[in-house]
Amino acid sequence: MTANQMALPKKKKRMGIDRRRSLEAYIFLIPWLVGVCLFFAYPIFVSIRLAFSDIVEFKGLKTAWVGLENFQYIFFYDINFVPTFLQVVYDTLLNTPICLVFSLLIAILINRKMVGRGFFRTAFFIPVLLGSGYIMKQLLGMGADGATITTGITVPRLIADLLGVSITEVVQGFLDRITVVLWKSGVQIVLFLAGLQGISGSLYEAARVDGATEWEMFWKITLPMITPIILMNLVYTIVSFFTDGTNPMVDYIYKVNFTNQQYEYAAAMSWIYFVFACIFCLLAILLMRRHVYDSGSKS
């Protein structure tokens, strides 16, 4: 033992604890690092290169640098890109708050003790089971080919007559949107539910002793305590709306890529799209940040 230690050079013998811990960490990270290189970093590199160039020869992907030509084409010649893009931005801006408000509401409702808790929890999770796939895309009537079974829930005739055409249209539009949005908020509900469970019951007890009402407790305890999850859900929601399969922009990029086979062009388009998604997330984080409650114990 001692002989062995003597034989080692002095430097190696006393490898700092930090160094060793660092090395251990990298052992755990090996699979992921390999994955990042093969399936993430390299494709990103190829994709960026494609966005700025023109494919000369498809075999082996030989490309010629053309600078911003692809981007110019997208903004100045493509008649589909800008309108589709604006539509997606508009939808995301409208859907994200609806999604967050309703999933928080539902999470608060099913967090209580009640009859049929298991049933309701399953009901609200059903969209996750069916969702994210072709089935939901078709069921929600957003399929490209129009074979649909539902167009949301309609305003009852009696109420429609009372309200008049213009208001009914607005309400109907809202209802249509709600169905679509709620169907995409399964994960958010689950995350909010987890957050609500994490709030210590003693806070509510103390508040109740001091005579606080449920309403006050919501604004003074529940909401501040779950701000970290609101932030997380906000980012998750924006990303999921942007990358969703039912999104017209995603459809369009896919079409340009595999139907029209304009790969460089699709790459440029998806990068513009991605940069905007990032900007949205950053804005959301910056806006939310100062309101986020920090328990100080974690992170």
């Binding site: 811990r21 660092s22 960490a25 990298y26 052992i27 755990f28 990270l29 699979p31 992921w32 390999v34 994955g35 093969l38 399936f39 993430f40 390299y42 494709p43 990103i44 190829v46 994709s47 494609l50 309703f102 409702l109 009640m114 298991g118 929890r121 609200f124 999770f125 996750v128 089971l129 069916l130 969702g131 994210s132 072709y134 089935i135 078709q138 069921l139 129009g146 074979a147 079974i149 539902t150 169905t179 709620l182 995350l191 539910l193 987890a194 469970q197 970290p228 999850i229 932030l231 997380m232 990358t243 399969g245 896919y254 890529n257 790459a267 998806s270 991605f274 990032c278 114990s297 992170s299």
Partner: protein, 312 residues
């Protein structure tokens, strides 16, 4: 005087009871209304899948079919070659889930428990993995897999998951990181003092405690892989390797075609493929995953609550 006081107390008590009852009623009403929105497309799907041809075109029939027919399921079952494709789905979903549970837990553990050089830079990559949509990378990946000869096999769907990539890999890494960050450090320190190496500490001490995130990761990964049609649709053309959700677009296309021409007849027994059969096929697609979820439902929810996603 005492009497009037008593009656006043009684009155306020009855008012309070009435208020509680009203609030209860409102609560259940709201909950039922919201769950109806969630279940509406689902119920419509099941109802439609049981209708006969006559019911489909009869506008007075909206919910309950006048005569439930199971033959739709029979036809859908054969039409989509359910028995052949469901095994593909189980294989891919199962392997990919195992891959995610293995690689994402390792990565999440390293990020939660160690300080190492470039930690922040690498964590930014994890966040990027969550934000960069598949659509950005799909063509380079497609080219790469075709160079490696991986097209028309399950490799592009399964292998990346073993390296922490794949469908929503970043999300799962984040999930494990959040969970491990919430565990006490004393466990590992005790293990190290007793001479337990890092990998054994992880495998013998940390993993057995990580049942909650394992379950959450398992269920979500399985469900997402099961429903995914985008990537399989890009990488797999060979009918032998199709998966259930990628069969559906074909069926929908078929239905549209038949609506227009009305002479396209099913190659099976000369039956015209109708919407009811399509709905039956759609429902068949998700039955296995629904059964799996119903079995795991309670434990999954507990897992979500305990996986510590709360502390961000």
């Amino acid at each position: 005087m005492t009497v009037s006081k008593k009656s006043g107390a009684l009155k306020s008590k009855s008012i309070r009871i009435a208020r509680t009852v009203a609030l209860r009623f409102m609560f259940y009403f709201l909950l039922s209304a919201l769950s109806f929105i969630f279940l509406y497309p689902f119920i419509t799907m099941i109802a439609k899948s049981l209708m006969t041809d006559d019911d489909l075109y009869n506008i007075t029939v909206k919910w309950l079919p006048s005569r439930a027919t199971w033959s739709n399921y029979d036809i859908a079952f054969r039409r989509m070659r359910f028995r052949a494709y469901v095994w593909n789905n189980i294989l891919v979903g199962g392997l990919a889930t195992i891959g995610h549970m293995f690689s994402c837990s390792l990565t999440g553990y390293a990020f939660a428990r160690y300080n190492f050089r470039l930690k922040n830079v690498l964590f930014v990559i994890v966040i990027m993995m969550m934000i960069v949509p598949v659509q950005v990378l799909i063509f380079p990946l497609y080219k790469q897999y075709s160079d490696w000869g991986w097209l028309n096999s399950f490799l592009p769907l399964v292998v990346p998951t073993f390296f922490g990539m794949g469908l929503n890999g970043g999300f799962f890494i984040f999930l494990y990181r959040q969970f491990f960050m919430g565990l006490p450090y004393e466990m590992e320190e005790a293990a190290r003092v007793d001479g337990c190496g890092p990998i054994r500490t992880y495998a013998r001490i940390m993993l057995p405690m990580a049942q909650a995130p394992m379950l959450v990761c398992g269920v979500l990964s399985l469900v997402w892989h099961w429903n995914d049609y985008f990537e399989p649709g890009v990488y797999i053309n060979n009918p032998a390797f199709r998966m259930l959700p990628s069969v559906l677009p074909n069926l929908y296309a078929l239905l549209n075609q038949e609506n227009h021409t009305m002479i396209q007849v099913n190659e099976l027994e000369g039956i015209v493929f109708n919407e009811a059969m399509l709905m039956a096929a759609t429902f068949l697609c998700i039955i296995p995953i629904m059964i799996a979820y119903l079995i795991l439902q309670r434990r999954f929810m507990e897992g979500v609550e305990r996986s510590g996603l709360t502390g961000m």
